[in-house]
Symmetry: C2
Subunit: 387 residues, 2 copies
């Protein structure tokens, strides 16, 4: 087992009706609240009205930063941070999915940033900068942003999508009922996202960190079981709740404790796809992961035991031929993504190979794919396999 | 899934050499340190000298509260709290196992207690009282006290051993190397303790909290795998590290998230044994658990599916007869405890039935064993099965 540091100060209220803790969660920080949200789905489902009623009754002064994008832009960070500075905001309340919360984390740091080049601020953020306190109400089970300090911000003008650490939410409220109205496409993409968060850590050379392995395999099996249920029965509380808690833990770092990090190669490659084509993060990850696995298995057969464990423990497969078994596990993953309706070819998203070389150049760095080293040429091959 | 609240602010440094973070962990709290420890084993292994050297070099003023008992007494709480008040201590540094840390948590609350009846303070503690900051260096994998706010304090004069919540360590340092010198008996009792922390939650009516089930079964399997290794090879780092991280998570509450609590009946019964006979907590739990399971399976066959899951997923057993399979799982647990050298009869510890009725009266309360309700008579029967 490798050394690790656990340091997650977030208080998490999980379950039905936990919005009852909203007022107490905000009030110790002050009275001036910046409410951040996305494209208005929280208005359609009535959550916006519910939140505003609680805040108004409790005497908070509410300012708004709406319209945060699915791949949140640095321009939204700037807009939110400027409101914080101008209105002397005490606490940020993020209501939405991971994109809104990622952007809100960057806004929380931006509120103390001296300057107006917020892209430089994003690039320099490492979790140690001063930040405004942040409370999150989550409406989607996917990124796990509610239980980590990370955020991914895009600068479309220069085709960059960058992950950095900003600040932890002080409090996150996760009510599975808020995910009942999530469209099937987003539920599926969210499931792929949380599976990817696990698989990025699972595919490591470290095989003996028992609890991490159990958590990783447990979450993968739970998503495989529950995602098809919510696609058939969107208001199934038990399935939504399991997916939600899986997603919160999946990106917390906990499932990787004691393991050598793989460098999260699929995320690095996917960020290039989103930066150039603004595609849904979870869809990009679903397309990339089985191709990446096939490619690295071909390149380095020493990883076969890890893929055999994946095939056996996650998919319940058996085969005396270890290479065949490893391949069957990858195929099972691919088939699962197909079965939940994810488009599994980049060409279906209107993407061709125009920018593959530029993207490959941009995503390879010294710690990129420490599981099986990959060159720019390797990455181009993987992108081509995804067409 | 049931609602839950996650709220663990402790920063945890896990792994070899993590004592390098001791100075930075203490210094933000002040200069006056109360060093708490037990019977001197930390002196024998050189850890006392190592800690004192770090503290002295860094300019801390060190006061000591030594001799904290394996079942820590309220008298030790009083002694430590009085030093904190008299010497205006800024931060407590606990070096030892769970007993030293449990006592240190109560001392941290006691430092702000107006009065000198510390037993009343213990009884009233609920985690909301003001407390001194606390840093822990753990030398044993067992109680998981490094990652929760709970502590168990004994008042032998009135035969009471009581668990309450006091305060979380601000920082816990867990270096598996510190557990290399732990005698086999204590390693085995520690393993039984962490298994019990899991089993108290695992045996619940809730079957659909996927991640919690995966964590519970993962930790049980890991202890079953690694405990025999450390008994043969005490300096096996990988096995010691897995046991240590298992123990930290096992008592954190995380493995029970989303489940109806069982009321921790074996702990309630064991606290009576320790309060009357001062036995090792883990040994008492190992003796009680298989007898409790046999008794409740006989009393309420509706719990058979849960015990079947235990037999299959934890012990890898198969049998078409579900009752037989359930019983085989309990037998496997009993045989495992025997195999690691735990005395499995109370008579071996010099305990007879003299106080069983008094103990049964004391441990039954409204939320005692909500998994299968047990009366005082039932508890007496279980104690008798343990003779």
């Amino acid at each position: 087992m490798e050394n690790f540091v656990h340091d997650i100060p977030t208080k998490l209220y999980f379950g039905k009706g936990m919005i009852s803790h909203l007022e107490e969660s905000l009030k110790s920080f002050g009275k001036r609240v910046l409410l951040t949200y996305g494209g208005g789905s929280i208005k359609r489902v009535g959550l916006y009205d519910e939140v505003l009623e609680i805040l108004t009754k409790a005497g908070f002064e509410v300012f708004e930063c709406a319209g945060i994008e699915p791949n949140p832009r640095v321009e939204s960070v700037a807009r939110g941070a400027d409101i914080c500075k101008k209105e002397k905001i005490d606490v940020i309340l993020s209501v939405g999915g991971g994109s809104v919360l990622d952007c809100s984390k960057a806004i929380a740091v931006g509120a103390y940033f001296n300057g107006d080049d917020y892209w430089q601020m994003v690039l320099a953020s490492n979790g140690s900068q001063k930040a405004l306190p942040l409370v999150a109400i989550m409406t989607m089970a996917a990124t796990g942003s509610e239980f980590d300090s990370g955020g991914v911000i895009s600068n479309m003008a220069i085709h960059k999508k960058i992950g950095r650490t900003f600040t932890f939410p002080a409090v996150s409220i996760c009510d599975p009922c808020y995910t009942f109205t999530l469209p099937a496409k987003q539920s599926a993409a969210g499931g792929a996202d949380m599976m990817s968060h696990i698989m990025e850590g699972y595919f490591s050379r470290t095989m003996n960190a028992d609890l991490s392995e159990a958590i990783e395999e447990g979450i993968l099996k739970s998503v495989i079981h529950n995602l098809p249920i919510v696609l058939q029965d969107p208001t199934n509380y038990e399935a939504r709740a399991n997916l939600f808690w899986n997603s919160s833990i999946a990106c917390s770092g906990i499932p990787e404790y004691g393991k050598v990090s793989s460098g999260w190669p699929c995320h690095a490659m996917e960020h290039e796809l989103s930066a150039f084509y603004d595609i849904t993060h979870g869809v990009g990850l679903a397309i990339l992961t089985p191709r990446w696995l096939s490619y690295i298995l071909e390149k380095d057969s020493s990883i076969t035991p890890r893929l055999v464990k994946f095939a056996k423990n996650v998919w319940g497969l058996e085969n005396k031929d270890e290479t065949e078994l490893a391949k069957a596990g990858i195929q099972a993953l691919y088939d699962f993504f197909v079965s939940v309706g994810i488009p599994m070819h980049l060409s279906e998203l209107g993407i061709d190979e125009t920018h593959f070389e530029e993207m490959a150049k941009s995503c390879t760095h010294p710690w990129f794919d420490s599981f099986v080293g990959l060159s720019e040429e390797d990455v181009v091959c993987i992108f081509k396999m995804c067409l």
